[in-house]
């Protein structure tokens, strides 16, 4: 359909021709695409340290995310077992094959059955690792990779996301810059998740769990080793 493309392009160029002074438009486009600066970051997002964690927690809880802070990675399994009990769920989950989750302390919960891999429609609970967190709106940024399949956060009715605290940013732009440093091109999917799935399509009544998870549980955890490396990535 190259014919269609040239026809559309021709119309666009005609409409915009009067605005072109030599090569100025092309230079403007090149400059804009190379400049990766935030346009305007709300003051609310410019917080550090404990205030940032507090803002993340407040915003996430306001949209029905359960948030729990842990002292170490090794506590993840126990916190998960408690969470499952609290919601009357079986002690069973599928977790991302990300090596960072090897240190979740699974051995402390022998009754918890853990499969590592992608979610299937039968899984009730999925666990994955956030690439970053965004305090501004209590948002978790999930980045697809072989060791972090996307469906873990969408197919099961319950989703648990582990967020290493060194990756909690103030605003979206900081997390996107983190991703740019990590990979020159974005991976297939970047999911910005703010609360569990919801709909108001039936008589304007807010209902959770429309297609994605009914519950979202965020575990805020200090990094496995201080100043740890950036998370293992996609290619």
């Amino acid at each position: 359909m190259n014919e269609a493309k040239s026809a559309i392009m021709e119309r666009l160029r005609q409409a915009l021709a009067s605005e072109d002074a030599g090569d100025a438009r092309r230079r403007a486009v090149d400059a804009r695409l190379a400049r990766h600066e935030p346009v305007l970051v709300p003051a609310r997002a410019r917080v550090e340290g404990e205030a940032r964690i507090a803002l993340f927690t407040e915003m996430a809880e306001a949209v029905q995310t359960e948030v729990q802070r842990l002292d170490s990675f090794a506590e993840i399994a126990t916190a998960t077992a408690h969470y499952l009990r609290r919601h009357n769920l079986p002690q069973k989950l599928v977790a991302a094959p990300d090596p960072l989750l090897d240190a979740a302390g699974w051995e402390k919960q022998p009754l918890l059955r853990v499969r590592r891999g992608n979610a299937t429609p039968e899984d009730a609970v999925g666990m994955t690792l956030a690439f970053a967190g965004i305090a501004e709106t209590g948002t978790l940024m999930l980045v697809s990779a072989p060791e972090r399949p996307v469906m873990l956060a969408f197919l099961p009715e319950n989703c648990i996301v582990v967020l290493p605290l060194s990756r909690l940013d103030g605003c979206y732009e900081e997390s996107w810059a983190r991703l740019r440093r990590h990979a020159p091109r974005p991976p297939r999917a970047v999911n910005l998740v703010t609360g569990p799935s919801r709909t108001a399509d039936i008589a304007n009544t807010l209902t959770l769990g429309a297609h994605g998870p009914r519950r979202l549980f965020a575990l805020l955890v200090p990094d496995p080793e201080a100043d740890g490396p950036e998370p293992a990535g996609d290619a």
Binding site: L16, R44, A203
Partner: protein, 468 residues
């Protein structure tokens, strides 16, 4: 759905005004989204500054649209996807069907897309033996009901819970569920199967990123992610003006979008997809296709209507429009409704057919006040009114009435005499009550309230007498 036409707006509006169920549904919009929006904006002091930035971003893109589209196509190709160009709806439909056929598709899942509505994709796919399944709950409901969306954000906002209960019981063959949660759970169960058996997933796009060739979808349900994540083939249908340069610009517009639409700080799921699955990925489609639609937009760049291409489809102008809130979306007879629809529909259907839509405005200006990218909607509606006048599309009575008024307005002496006469007659008719219960040609007003009558003298005559 097929056969949408804005012709007949007046009749449909009259029917809508007499429909008590619809009034109830529209009232719930008035009570919901505008208040939530106001609260969200009160929490973000930078909101107005963001609107200025949002407008500037869109204006910059539109002034360089040809160049950004080229860069976008190159980036999509580099990520392993393909871009297909469509001049009009028919071309876009053919392209989508071709891709579906090559993928051997029997069923396709769809995540809410206004462009798919614009090109009337469902009817076309069905006619060619492919079953389209809408997955956004609102879209799913209206697909079952055989209707068109009545709102950009809440396609089934015109339906009551009782109507949905009845609809589900009929189509799912299950005992009627009455609570919203039960209805949602039922749809979730039914649609789960559909996701897993679909051969192709079709989504729209809220934004296209020129730098990376990425597509951004925004949902609250998570249906877009299941739609593009599960089938082997992904198709995105998007219009050419959805481009933004980089993610940084997208974030500015995203900060405006959810707040303007539903009053949320951020939608539940904002997803950026770039190309098909990577070699080692455990999920994602093997093929990624993007159909880019023009359908009259390139013609809007050159002139007054260009600012309409800034629209990010938040629906705030609908939620604040006294006309939309009185007649609902279906009266418009167009894919796009409310003030933004009154400006876009004449482009899509022709001003001859859509003339009544830009007429249906009280020009209160609320739409422009709430627009996140400051589109001068009343001015654009006025543009179409003038266009209709120039092309002599108004009925003779309206044209003669307007001529008569023009004749008087250009002659101040005559105007004073005529308006003085009308004021005195109305004043006499009203008598001591000072108000009229009935007035010929003004039944729409006097049907539910009295018309306050002039007190017998005009402003100019009082002014002359020195009454200040």
């Amino acid at each position: 759905m097929s056969g949408a036409t804005p012709v007949g707006f007046r009749d449909r509006a009259r029917e809508a005004l007499a429909d008590p169920t619809l009034r109830e549904a529209l009232l719930s919009i008035r009570r919901g989204w505008p208040r939530a929006r106001a609260r969200a904006i009160a929490r973000l002091p930078e909101f107005d500054a963001l609107r200025d930035r949002g407008r500037a971003i869109k204006d910059h893109v539109l002034a360089h649209l040809d160049l950004y589209l080229e860069r976008f196509e190159r980036a999509v190709t580099a990520s392993g996807g393909s871009v297909h160009w469509a001049r009009d709806a028919a071309e876009a439909r053919r392209l989508v069907l071709e891709i579906c056929k090559r993928a051997g598709a029997r069923t396709v899942t769809k995540s809410k897309s206004m462009i798919a509505e614009e090109i009337d994709l469902n009817a076309w796919l069905e006619a060619h033996g492919i079953v389209p399944v809408e997955t956004d709950l609102g879209e799913y409901i209206i697909q079952l009901a055989g209707q068109r969306p009545s709102h950009l954000v809440g396609p089934a906002v015109h339906m009551t819970r009782e109507e949905i209960t009845e609809l589900f019981a009929r189509h799912h063959g299950t005992p009627p569920s009455e609570r919203a949660e039960e209805l949602v759970a039922e749809a979730r169960r039914v649609l789960r199967r559909r996701y897993l058996e679909a051969d192709v997933g079709i989504t729209g796009a809220n934004f296209l990123i020129a730098e990376t060739g990425s597509v951004i979808t925004v949902t609250n349900e998570g249906n877009a992610e299941l739609t593009h994540g599960l089938p082997r083939t992904q198709i995105v249908v998007a219009s050419i003006e959805k481009i933004v340069p980089t993610m940084e610009e997208a974030f500015t517009l995203l900060r405006l979008l959810a707040r303007s639409a539903t009053g949320q700080e951020f939608s539940t799921y904002t997803t950026v997809v770039t190309g098909p699955r990577r070699a080692e990925d455990l999920d994602g489609p093997e093929a990624f296709h993007l159909v880019l639609l023009d359908n009259g937009r390139s013609g809007m760049l050159d002139g007054t209507l260009r600012s309409m291409l800034r629209c990010i489809r938040c629906g705030a102008c609908l939620n604040h429009c006294p006309v939309y809130l009185a007649v609902g979306g279906h009266a418009y007879g167009s894919v796009y409704v409310g003030p933004m629809g009154a400006v876009l529909s004449p482009v899509l259907y022709g001003i001859e057919k859509a003339r009544a839509l830009p007429e249906a405005s009280s020009f209160c200006g609320r739409c422009e006040e709430v627009c996140p990218v400051r589109i001068p909607l009343p001015a654009l509606m006025r543009y179409w009114r003038e266009e209709a006048w120039r092309r002599r599309l108004a009925p003779p009575a309206a044209r003669w009435g307007m001529r008569l008024w023009r004749h008087l307005a250009l002659r101040p002496g005559l105007y004073r005499v005529a308006s003085g006469l009308v004021a005195r007659v109305l004043g006499l008719l009203a008598g001591r009550r000072g108000a009229l219960r009935r007035l010929p040609l003004a039944g729409g007003w006097t049907g539910s309230r009295d018309l306050p009558a002039p007190e017998g003298a005009t402003f100019t005559s009082l002014y002359r007498k020195g009454v200040r």
